[in-house]
Symmetry: C2
DNA sequence: CGTCCCGTTGAGGCGGTTCAAAGTGCGTGG
DNA sequence: CCACGCACTTTGAACCGCCTCAACGGGACG
């Protein structure tokens, strides 16, 4: 999911199918970089950790591509609870899918630099070049698939399965971005993870502790994850192995 | 959600925001009927209950618009569990969002007539008329929003809240289709509902029984729902009222 | 040094699942 | 036309995974 609608990589379209894909990714990189030719040359902006890039209800002025840093996409529900939708990593597009108003909030979890893409120019290109609309349609479709996968995960899988899958997804994501797949820093808090996985912070914490106790991961610091036994981690993530 | 990506009403775009919207619908009917002019004139096909209209993995030859009947959209997960994604009612488009292969199954739950729309002609129009791509992009975006709403529902709400919301959504849907909002037949089984709401059939059944016992609904037959006290039902669906 | 935020750990309770069995409606065949 | 089988639904009892509430620990920052 990492690369998704609200945080989608339109170009390479490497929709990971989501954190918890037990199936093949819906589709793989496509050529035809409609966005890069002339569109992805907007200005850069930098946000400190905890700064919002956009908020729900804001008029959509831009969509963004993360260059450096990490963004948490979330929505506040009527009862005050928070639903974390996604975490955007470098390369991901965010705020896509919002038509008039932003339908979610985007907050930097670490110091983040984004490239701004004005919605006006996007819409202009959409009107003249039919390929862009199609491309965005496909990106949204992939995202939808990933979100449905998540829907299943969250309803049917145990806390252990969810957390294991989550860590593996981060690992893969880091690998794809040319970073260390076996040791990485979590750019989000336990609370972010909990609200993403549909768990409480206590359960997330306990699950991490259990994984460390069982020797599957190491946690030198609470945010520094080392994957020790990825094989068993995969087994756990696929469930029915508890 | 009823009207959604895999079962989306592209034209009127009355994405109900989903069964469990605690917020406003993301957007309301839009004009500009790109599909109706020349595209929605495909052949009709009829399916008996339990007949599949398309299956996951099938090459996409058509998308469909339900004219009469009801379709259950679902996916089978690797562990054998089923995730019901949506129920399509008359007026809904189904199989939209599938690019090359179908990513879900569509099965008629009652005798169903659909209008077929060849994917080739859709793609042809998309290439020549930029508006269609945009339209589909927007439809997918709305669907995505609805699915995220569902994600929240399923992780954070109780069985009672989910079932109450579900019934209310069906009620509204019937009303919109010019049918009785307070008494209607469920076109799906308890199992379908359970797999949609992320519950077991036992829990769904018990919740129905409780609702009847509390005088909020009546169940002359297991599939015949009469909404007796919609006000209290709304309260229940919004939770924190148990 | 105190405060705040975040993470960890413990104890107890509960909602929903699991397993089991009985009830209901309907189509089919004798 | 009734008897049977089958699919679906309902109900009961016991269990359990996660949540809730509560307390404590540790690092960052003023």
């Amino acid at each position: 999911m990492l690369a998704t609608a609200y945080a989608a990589d339109v170009e390479t379209a490497h929709a990971d199918t989501g954190y918890f894909g037990t199936r093949d990714a819906p589709s793989r990189p496509q050529p035809l970089d409609l966005l890069t030719k002339g569109l992805l040359d907007g200005p850069l902006r930098t946000f400190e950790a905890k700064e919002h890039i956009f908020r729900e209800g804001d008029t959509v002025s831009h969509v963004y591509q993360v260059e450096i840093g990490h963004v948490c996409i979330y929505r506040m529900m009527s009862d005050g609870r928070r639903q974390v939708i996604d975490f955007a990593y470098p390369g991901d597009m965010i705020a896509l899918g919002a038509i008039a108003e932003h339908t979610a909030n985007g907050v930097a979890t670490t110091r983040t630099r984004v490239r701004c893409l004005s919605i006006a120019s996007l819409q202009h290109v959409m009107k003249t070049d039919a390929r862009l609309g199609v491309k965005l349609y496909e990106a949204m479709s992939r995202e939808l698939l990933a979100t449905r996968e998540m829907l299943f995960t969250v309803t049917q899988r145990t806390a252990m399965e969810r957390v294991a899958s989550f860590l593996l997804a981060l690992s893969r994501r880091n690998e794809r971005n040319g970073e260390n797949a076996d040791e990485f820093v979590l750019p989000m808090t336990r609370s972010d993870i909990a609200d993403f996985l549909g768990l409480t912070i206590e359960t997330v914490s306990r699950t991490f502790t259990k994984l460390r106790g069982d020797g599957l991961i190491d946690l030198a610091q609470s945010v520094l994850v080392t994957i020790v036994d990825s094989e068993r981690l995969v087994e756990l993530s696929e469930g029915r192995t508890n």
